[in-house]
């Protein structure tokens, strides 16, 4: 993932939240072009979904991504129906969902790392046990040879 993409993933939700807050703070009468703003937010989040999919190398957040896409589609549909409050609500939930996906991706990566280290540890311990057994066998063999050599 490029540095620009990482930044975008990080800042876009923040921008979306700020935009939503600004929209809510603005009186309804002054919400001219609100539909376009929501559309941009939806599109921004959709772009973020692609980034999340790329981040999810281990495909552990597939269900959450699908859900996020469904919610963004829902927001898009609500926007078309001019249900702007509901759109914002869905966008808020989508932002939270995106954050959840990032954390789950992190969890999956940490888990993979943990599994890898656990496997390495298991392998090391297996080698240790094998070496310990070989040592015991060698000691027994050596003692037997020593006894036979007397």
């Amino acid at each position: 993932m490029s540095r620009w993409t990482k930044r975008r993933v990080f800042f876009l939700p923040l921008l979306a939240v700020l935009a939503t807050l600004a929209t809510l703070a603005t009186p309804r009468t002054v919400r001219a072009g609100e539909e376009d703003d929501l559309q941009r937010q939806i599109e921004t989040q959709r772009a973020g979904v692609s980034d999340l999919e790329r981040l999810d190398e281990l495909h552990t957040a597939g269900d959450e991504v699908v859900l996020l896409k469904a919610w963004l589609d829902e927001a898009w549909a609500l926007r078309a129906k001019h249900e702007y409050d509901q759109v914002r609500e869905v966008l808020d939930r989508s932002l939270a969902q995106a954050e959840l996906i990032r954390q789950k991706i992190s969890v999956s990566k940490l888990r993979a790392q943990s599994d890898k280290r656990e496997a390495a540890l298991t392998e090391t311990r297996r080698k240790t046990e094998a070496a310990r057994k070989a040592l015991a066998d060698t000691t027994v063999k050596k003692k037997a040879l020593e006894a036979s050599s007397k």
């Binding site: 954390q103 390495a120 040879l145």
Partner: protein, 394 residues
């Protein structure tokens, strides 16, 4: 109240009851409640208290909304509550995993240290084992070499002993053959080839056979042949010896007799003749003119003859010697015998006086019984008056 009215009232009551009853719980709310039973909830509350608090509020709100039959709002808030709680749980899970990774790293370091230690011990023990195996292998090889060398030495020793035995047998055989040859040579010294020819030839043949057997390495038969040869040679020598000695003695006697005869002939005034009487040979030295007429004492001037006779008798000490007196035939026979005997006695005394052993001399007188010439002539009678020195031998 009619039956129709009662039915209508019942339907109304039922409809009212149904209208006042709580609506079905949204499945988002059920899912949220299930999420709340997550065992990591407490950890999530510690890690992200804001998120959990917010989630709790939203959950409570959704529950209220459901109670208020505001299902759509309840569903949305339940969803949001789920998202927040899941995020909090994910953060807690991250912390748990990080801690786990950290512990795994520490465990890995310890395990690697343990592995390194065990591997080091194993390497050391393996090296010791390898050295021990090499040592035992070397010792085994050394033992094998020792055994092989011992066997080889034993074989060489056996060969040497066999060679020694062979040489010993050969030497013994050669000694036996040499002994047989010595016996044969001994037999040859007594001319066994002549006097025991069969035994001698048998001995020589057996020696030849023994030598052939020796060459072919048949020592035992060679020794047996040599023994037989030695016996034959000894027997031949034994048989030949008396014959040889007899012949040798005869040869010696003949030579001595010849020498005696020659020496006797060298005495001046003595005539020598040989004669045989029975088995005895006689060398007769006739010495005339020792006595004058009928006298029985030696006159002067006969010392040379008497010295020569004494020397001759002493030179050949093995011969018995007769001193025989002879006369011519003039006079009585008994008187002549006495005269001849007295003359022989006189010569006997003269020879004894010259160192001749008395016991070798046998004086006697025969008178005129053995004339050598005709008594009718003076020269014949002079020759018949004589003393004869007779050497007797076979």
């Amino acid at each position: 109240m009619t039956r129709a009215k009662l039915g209508t009232v019942g339907a109304l009551v039922t409809a009212l009851a149904l209208g006042c009853a709580t609506p079905p719980r949204p499945r988002e709310l059920d899912a949220y409640d299930a999420l709340k039973k997550d065992p990591n909830l407490a950890a999530a509350g510690k890690r992200a208290p804001d998120l959990v608090t917010s989630s709790d509020k939203l959950g409570a709100k959704a529950n209220d909304e459901w109670q208020s039959n505001d299902l759509e709002e309840s569903r949305r808030d339940a969803l949001m509550a789920q998202v927040k709680l899941k995020t909090a749980l994910a953060l807690a899970e991250q912390d748990r995993l990080k801690a786990k990774i950290e512990k795994l790293s520490a465990d890995q370091a310890a395990a690697e240290e343990d592995l390194a230690s065990v591997s080091k011990d194993l390497a050391s023990e393996t090296e010791k084992l390898t050295l021990l195996q090499k040592y035992l292998e070397a010792r085994k090889n050394a033992d094998a070499d020792k055994q092989r060398l011992s066997a080889q030495m034993s074989s060489e020793q056996q060969k040497a002993e066999a060679e020694q035995q062979r040489l010993s047998s050969q030497l013994a055989t050669e000694q036996k053959i040499a002994a047989a040859q010595l016996s044969l040579h001994t037999a040859e010294t007594v001319d066994a080839a002549k006097y025991a020819s069969a035994e001698y030839r048998a001995a020589a043949d057996m020696i030849g056979k023994a030598q052939e057997e020796l060459k072919s390495g048949a020592f035992a038969p060679a020794q047996a042949s040599a023994d037989v040869a030695k016996k034959n040679a000894d027997h031949a020598a034994e048989l030949a010896k008396p014959k040889y000695e007899q012949a040798e003695a005869a040869n010696q006697n003949t030579a001595r007799d010849a020498a005696l005869s020659n020496d006797a002939a060298g005495i001046a005034g003595v005539s020598v003749r040989r004669e045989k009487r029975g088995e005895l040979q006689r060398l007769v030295l006739a010495v005339p003119d020792l006595f004058v007429k009928k006298q029985t004492t030696l006159g002067p001037g006969h010392d040379n003859v008497l010295d020569g006779l004494a020397q001759l008798v002493n030179k050949y000490p093995t011969y018995p010697v007769q001193i025989v007196g002879h006369t011519d035939n003039r006079g009585k026979s008994t008187e002549l015998v006495a005269i001849s005997a007295a003359r022989a006695q006189a010569v006997y005394s003269a020879l004894v006086a010259r160192g001749v052993e008395a016991r070798r001399l046998m004086p006697s007188g025969v008178g005129s019984d053995e004339p050598i010439e005709d008594n009718h002539s003076a020269s014949g009678r002079a020759k018949n008056n004589r003393i004869e020195i007779v050497f007797l031998y076979h």
